[in-house]
């Protein structure tokens, strides 16, 4: 060990000579899980956090050789407690780089705290478009894909398959509406058309009556190639496939879906990450786990390459074209300098397999094909990053 340390100094003479401890903060706003029809298991209690924990273990190996200690502080705020009070306390204790799982409103309130001005916040859970557009904040980077990235990925797939006529069922929740809006915008962007649309009104228990209710409900939709469903909480959509009036595939929140990560992603070395996660967390890795994992990986990469770990250095490295972060998706991921969104390939998946990876072949872009997914520089409404005219 002595030998190792001595040689490490020789090799990495540019690194600081004394051990460096870098504090990372996990900050989570717990919410009451919304009621859903199914009685099957809901979100795991350590969703997201398990990804951050694993990633800290991963980067600790680089840290060990570079004499950097990564120190993860975990603050989980229960639904009954005040989020901002906890956030202020964390910031006062010295939190500078925060990996956050919180709804959009809480995330924004955190970012706008005077104490958070010089901090760097990673959003690992809120897909809301407004956080990347009019409500973007210079101190917030997004490791979770925006809704538009996911719906653009889906639209590319539909276009590529020649399934140009779609029908859409939208659930009653605000996030269903937001997903449906993003879907419609993506259909327009890629020249696809919506043949019919209905809101999901039923309150009956689909577990028993799906076979009776869904055919009738879908009977009057105009003919379509694929039935899209917006049900982001996973409430009713699971009862739709194979119960439709016409024999049509289902996509969107159910059936073929576009997500930042799911347990079926296995190529490009992803199987190793999935295995490590399963051993560490005793469950499969979900999109929010991956977002937290990749946020921590990006921080470590920025520290290693830029040589410093203050928020400003990390931020400017991550927003530069020098950032090439390994994320098991077949090509490096990086952050868009106009809105802080991480650009990444989006897996299009069923429950059992990756059907395709977006961007699909043939969707071209002048600079980076990943920017065919989500809000590109000319379309952004974000002004806080100073990267737009």
């Amino acid at each position: 060990m002595k030998n190792l340390v001595a040689s490490a100094f020789l090799v990495l003479a540019s690194q600081p000579l004394c051990a460096e401890t870098i504090r990372l903060d996990w900050l989570e706003r717990q919410v009451e899980p919304p009621p859903v029809l199914s009685n099957l298991a809901g979100d795991p209690a350590d969703l997201g956090l398990a990804g951050a924990r694993l990633s800290v273990t991963d980067i600790a190996t680089t840290g060990k050789f570079l004499k950097i200690d990564w120190d993860l502080h975990e603050t989980v705020v229960s639904p009954a407690d005040d989020f901002l009070t906890a956030a202020k306390k964390t910031l006062a204790e010295g939190a500078k780089v925060l990996i956050v799982r919180a709804p959009a409103a809480d995330l924004l309130a955190l970012a706008d705290l005077p104490e958070a001005k010089g901090a760097l916040i990673f959003n690992t859970s809120a897909p809301d478009q407004r956080l990347r557009d009019e409500d973007c904040r210079a101190n917030v980077l997004h490791a979770i894909p925006s809704l538009a990235m996911r719906t653009d990925a889906l639209a590319q797939m539909l276009l590529k398959k020649g399934w140009g006529h779609l029908a859409l069922i939208t659930g009653p929740q605000p996030e269903d509406r937001a997903f449906a809006d993003a879907l419609k915008a993506s259909l327009t962007k890629f020249g696809l058309s919506l043949a019919g649309e209905k809101d999901w009104p039923l309150t009956s228990d689909m577990r028993r009556s799906g076979a009776a209710e869904v055919p009738l409900f879908t009977q009057d939709l105009r003919d379509h190639d694929v039935l899209l469903v917006a049900d982001e909480r996973g409430d009713f959509a699971r009862y739709i496939p194979f119960n439709t009036w016409l024999p049509r595939p289902v996509a969107g929140s159910e059936g073929l879906s576009a997500k930042g990560w799911t347990e079926v992603v296995e190529d490009y070395g992803a199987a190793q990450l999935q295995d490590r996660f399963r051993v560490a967390a005793n469950r499969p890795m979900q999109d929010e786990d991956f977002a937290a994992w990749v946020a921590v990986a990006a921080i470590s990469d920025a520290r290693t390459r830029a040589g410093k770990a203050d928020p400003a250095t990390l931020r400017s490295f991550l927003l530069s074209d020098k950032a090439r972060i390994a994320a098991f998706l077949g090509q490096p991921v990086s952050f868009r300098p106009w809105d802080g969104q991480m650009r990444q390939p989006i897996p299009l998946v069923t429950d059992r397999a990756v059907v395709a990876m977006a961007p699909l072949e043939g969707f071209l872009h002048a600079e980076n094909e990943l920017d065919t997914l989500g809000t590109d520089r000319p379309e952004t409404l974000c002004k806080a990053f100073g990267a737009t005219p």
Partner: protein, 320 residues
């Protein structure tokens, strides 16, 4: 060193039935390519997910990393029969055989460990803690230094083969995949798949001598992902497989400048030279084939269909 051995074998026997052996990761087979006819002359079953592949110095034994079988298999290349397994640790991905033919250094991708196995006693001699997801495995021509690179830790770990201790760690760009010593042992080359670069180290001091980046007109920088590397027979060039960029770069081994890019099949990962040094074979995973390149002309000669997702390649001169 290996090459010197190959050449001397060749001088003794005409190159009539030289072979290139390729592991097919998704088919659980190896394909045997006849170098003279450029046809697949045999396909043998292996354990699950074969990746790393190398021959013993006398070419009488073939070692195969059967990753999902958690074993290194030893095959008789005359018959294709699996003779026995070597204890390998979990999920062996890639390995390198010491020049004395005795010790095999195995990267255990899932365990962050390099396992050292004695090929004769079939016993594990040492396990060395390295970074997360070790893969690239190189050994100095004198056998004194083994280098393991770890994909997620982004480092090359220099291991003293006498003590089996890490003596130095060098940071490289993201996702290092392959480590290759120059034939004279003076340099270590490490490819970084996601970083898109190759770093050249002075092997004696472990200091960086140079870093090579790639640029191919019409191909996105993020598609350029260097993996396998091989020195040309005359040691003046280094071939670098560029993954989904579907090209092999030809680098001047002295100046570190890229001389040329050769188009090959899709997602090119590893490389092998024919024993006479005239042909380069590349494993193209996605297109499921092998491209043959004329080393003198630097032109592709042929494409050979093999199994699904060819991964590694190794050459065997067959004495007749």
């Amino acid at each position: 060193m290996i090459r010197a051995l190959l050449l001397s074998t060749l001088l003794a026997t005409p190159a009539l039935a030289d072979e290139i052996w390729v592991t097919n990761e998704s088919d659980d087979t190896v394909s045997v390519i006849d170098v003279a006819t450029l046809a697949v002359k045999a396909t043998y079953p292996t354990g699950e997910r074969p990746r790393g592949i190398t021959f013993s110095r006398d070419f009488k034994k073939l070692y195969i990393c059967a990753s999902d079988s958690d074993a290194v298999e030893v095959m008789d290349p005359e018959t294709g029969a699996i003779l026995h397994d070597l204890p390998s640790g979990e999920d062996p991905e890639q390995f390198v055989l010491a020049p004395d033919d005795k010790l095999l250094y195995i990267a255990n991708e899932n365990d962050a460990v390099t396992t050292v196995v004695d090929t004769q006693s079939r016993k594990v001699v040492a396990q060395i803690d390295v970074g997360v997801e070790p893969e690239g495995m190189g050994i100095s021509p004198d056998g004194k230094v083994q280098v393991t690179t770890s994909e997620t830790t982004n480092m090359a770990h220099w291991i003293d083969t006498t003590t089996h201790q890490i003596v130095a760690n060098s940071l490289v760009d993201s996702r290092p995949r392959h480590a290759e010593f120059s034939p004279d042992g003076a340099e270590l080359w490490v490819s970084a798949e996601i970083g898109g670069t190759v770093t050249v180290f002075d092997a004696a001091t472990q200091t960086e001598k140079g870093k090579i980046a790639f640029e191919i007109p019409g191909i996105r920088p993020e598609k350029i992902q260097p993996v396998g590397m091989l020195f040309s027979p005359d040691r003046t060039k280094v071939f670098v497989a560029l993954g989904p960029a579907n090209h092999v770069a030809v680098i001047d081994a002295k100046t570190f400048t890229v001389e040329r890019y050769l188009m090959v099949g899709r997602r090119v990962w590893h490389l092998a030279l024919s024993p006479d040094g005239t042909k380069l074979f590349t494993t193209n995973g996605v297109s499921g084939d092998v491209t043959v390149i004329d080393v003198a002309a630097l032109e592709p000669l042929a494409t050979i269909k093999v199994g699904r997702f060819p991964w590694g390649a190794a050459a065997r001169p067959t004495p007749n």
